[in-house]
Symmetry: C2
Subunit: 439 residues, 2 copies
């Protein structure tokens, strides 16, 4: 089968590029990030365009320096459940941290969403980025990488085990027999991080198991992805970076005996589409400039170092010694910043400016430019799909009405849904129940 392009819509509240100033745009309701109708409209539009999924990111820590959509956001599963009954086909992927939720509750909530949506639920497993999150959950310190990702893997395994509590034919509901008790199974999991008996109190959902997504690029993150991810939200970057990440993940999955096509890689992207390439680049620059405020950048920059306050340093002295602060939060990004600053001998100001410099999306241009960029990156195996985010409904509409038809014309993207489950859209098999004997 030829590879098919996938498209997910990363829902935008008051987020996306230009996130600090976007609320000033008269087309964006000031409370968009907590307005369920705003999300339903996006889901409906994306479903109309035959997207694979609506994707909801998440966080559980803020301070006053965070961008507007972080400050005030709906909880992903209440959001997606409300969206579910207003859509019929589109997948619904919600981000939930394995570090700060118990497996029993996660298993229930996604199984419930899978039933409510008729088989469209996906869980984006993250380990939480912001170190301050720990203090919202009674922990002094964010768990280190090894513990967070060790927990994440075991967490997913437990959740999957709980999803198999009932075999598919556990409820004959005929004669005198509602439940066949031999088809209800405890998990009795005892591991390094969790002890969970089960069974789960909800039947196997339409997808057998909701789809597992993952986002996190460290060695530990890739390892988790290779073991359990069926979808990945990968960060954008250069074509070379994206291809390297793609082949690395597929190789790791294959090495573990998995079919690499069952790990569907979605690259994060913010396409900027306009009638001409020039106009699109002008717009892209304008978006950048609207948010080009140094003190905000400095605060944002601090996130990779545990929301560290960089304003206390001399901006023109050498980049401070903060390598240890990135250890638990954004080690990958933190380490690359620290090493670049040291190698080139940059000041704090220069470092911040370099790492927050203008970098237009590779998908900036006229509809045909954007469609061909998508096509060539896809063909070059930089991704299986894009996880696209926009600033406004106008930007989504432009992409849907001008770019998507070009992708459809060339046969890269579906014109009709062939399935009504997320697994169906992504070409993922329904996992066999671990307790069912092959017949």
């Amino acid at each position: 089968m030829t590879r098919q392009l996938r498209l997910a819509l990363r829902a935008y509240g008051v987020g996306g590029p230009g996130q600090h100033s976007l609320w000033k745009d008269p087309r964006v309701p000031k409370n968009a990030s907590i307005d369920i109708d705003w999300y339903i409209a996006q889901a409906v539009a994306a479903e109309h365009a035959r997207f694979d999924a609506l994707f909801i990111v998440d966080s559980q820590f803020i301070d006053a320096t965070y961008p507007p959509h972080y400050l005030n956001r709906l909880e992903p599963l209440t959001l997606l459940s409300a969206v579910a009954t207003h859509t019929r086909n589109i997948g619904l992927v919600g981000t939930l941290s394995s570090t700060y939720n118990s497996p029993f509750n996660v298993a229930r909530r996604f199984a419930s969403l899978d039933h409510i949506s008729g088989g469209r639920a996906g869980w984006n497993v993250v380990t939480s980025f912001d170190t301050g999150t720990s203090r919202n959950y009674g922990l002094d310190e964010h768990l280190d990488y090894a513990t967070r990702y060790g927990r994440a893997l075991e967490h997913v395994q437990v959740v999957r085990g709980l999803w198999d509590s009932y075999e598919d034919d556990a409820f004959p509901a005929s004669g005198d027999v509602f439940l066949d008790p031999s088809k209800l199974h405890s998990l009795d999991h005892v591991g390094e991080h969790f002890r969970v008996d089960g069974p789960l109190n909800i039947s196997r959902s339409p997808q057998g198991q909701p789809v597992i997504f993952q986002a996190g690029v460290s060695e530990e993150g890739r390892n988790l992805a290779a073991h359990v991810a069926e979808g990945i939200y990968a960060p954008g970057g250069s074509l070379a970076d994206s291809r390297a990440y793609y082949s690395d993940i597929k190789r790791r999955a294959a090495a573990l005996g998995r079919d690499p096509s069952h790990v569907v890689i979605f690259l994060g992207a913010q396409p900027v589409v306009a009638s001409t390439d020039e106009e699109a680049h002008r717009l892209s620059r304008e978006i950048f400039e609207a948010d080009n405020d140094f003190s905000r950048k400095l605060a944002q920059f601090g996130r990779a170092f545990g929301a560290h306050d960089f304003s206390v340093y001399d901006l023109d002295a050498p980049f401070p010694d903060v390598a240890h602060l990135a250890e638990k939060s954004g080690r990958t990004r933190g380490a690359s910043i620290v090493s670049r600053a040291a190698t080139v001998g940059l000041s704090l100001r220069e470092t911040v400016l370099e790492f927050t410099r203008y970098q237009p999306s590779p998908f900036t241009g006229s509809p045909s430019t954007v469609a061909s960029a998508i096509t060539s990156w896809f063909s070059a195996e930089a991704f299986d799909g894009l996880n696209v985010g926009f600033r406004t409904n106008d930007d989504l509409s432009a992409f849907v009405s001008d770019v998507v038809p070009l992708l459809q014309k060339s046969g890269l993207f579906r014109t009709e849904y062939a399935h009504d489950t997320l697994r169906g859209h992504l070409g993922l098999p329904i996992p066999a129940n671990r307790w069912s004997v092959a017949s």
Copy 2:
């Protein structure tokens, strides 16, 4: 102001009376308990009848002996969030255990539901009944009463604190100012059971704070209710029992300086309505007989003793020495069973039969009989409202079309909604934000 009757609909999956055999009723879909359309239809019907709230109970432990709707149930908040966008006025109360959920997650999820529903969310705080629940969350043993209820009180206090993270006017969203940082507050809670810094990452919801319900009748449960409950789900019982419970709760609340009318007591009830009293009693008896299976009763009976397996005992020997097993689970019920068996000298069989004997609902009869029973219990201060459950949509329809109009005619129950929030319906004030200075 004259007291107004409140009505909540306790959503029925395959539950309610006759719960073990109800799935055989051809009017009930076999998968009703996980069918979101089934719940939406109930919510719409209840809203049409101007009910105050839809009420969702919950549990997180099962074994194969549990009744059908326990075995296979939707998670309450995903359920209610889906219902929210299909209704406009009715309150949405979900049960969540304070024993097995973290305050930060609970606060977020209910605040999110309150935004999604435009101010209709309520949290029914329970400490979890089934002792086996602990083993689904990594604990060897269910917490004892003092710990569970101590945690519950502190949990609610933390959740309320988090709900106040933002003052109401925190987001001017004008000029250059999206957030006024002086109106964002950390909680920095350090208590016996929880340490939570905050702030919560969602703005004050339309109700200021979602409504706090409570269910649990022990001394500790009543104490919790008196401190924090704004609504109570009280167990049904005799008129005398209900009046005693009612006056006890109101007295406790008043003793703590609270306005007793701000603790709205809903009595659990399963009205059985038919064209004549005789027919209703015949139907009530028939429902009882359909589930009159001793071995199932024995299993159900075990729930108050930590899902203890009573089938291992000689049924005709004296009631076994199991008092200690009720200590953590259903102490109130367990103790009354143990003491009755000992006082009268009952065998195990006799005890089970006595505690599961036929006890028709006091609200059984023709529409006028049921309406006058409700009226006289209400006037006698046995409750402020009823939390009614039914077996089938037909039973709900009969109550709504034949009984509710009689309650409306006598002025006891509203004919139109005067509010569009749950607080509005229940006559509860919007809590002042703890950080806002009175102006």
